[in-house]
Symmetry: C2
Subunit: 120 residues, 2 copies
Amino acid sequence: MHTKIIADAFTALCAKGEFIEAGRIHWSDDILSCEAMPGDMAELKGRAAVEAKGLWWHANHTVHSVKVEGPYVHGHQFLVRFTMDVTPRGGTRLTMDEMGLYSVLEGKIVEERFFYGGAA
Amino acid sequence: MHTKIIADAFTALCAKGEFIEAGRIHWSDDILSCEAMPGDMAELKGRAAVEAKGLWWHANHTVHSVKVEGPYVHGHQFLVRFTMDVTPRGGTRLTMDEMGLYSVLEGKIVEERFFYGGAA
């Protein structure tokens, strides 16, 4: 069950806070990253663009703590829940509650798609 | 944002334990239900078959409590997390930790796909 192996390894790195390393090892070079919001970063394609989004995000948020739950596996896809205590640059400290849905092809993550929770 | 409205209404019913009612109102008649395990119930198509699976499940599990988290929305899809304290018929009481990924088309849920967590 190849997806489960990738899912466990990826999630373990995230649980240690090693998000950049998790992507470096497990993303396909063609990774497609989809956010739930409109704008320039809604869909980014390719390792360089998605890594740049991550660097932008880390430069603009102070992460106080992250709770990682999962992975939840089905076929070639898996889910990870991230509950993050963060302060956006110049903003107010808040809790982000999000799910990442990851699609695996030939042992690499080819798509990540983020779902946001919170107050209705 | 139509998906968010469906997602909130569906999740609110689940949070009250009204799973059968949630499906009755929000499923498409063509609902496709996908479990993460092999077997006869791995993929079921159509309201009658999926309702029958639900009835089978409830007849074979005693549900002590359910915690519902979500919805988490992205485009035409949403996620709900279910943490259930259950005893399978003739089995041992356990906690099920699962995510449902729901796809909405024209105001109805056309697909549900379940992801299971738990020990790696």
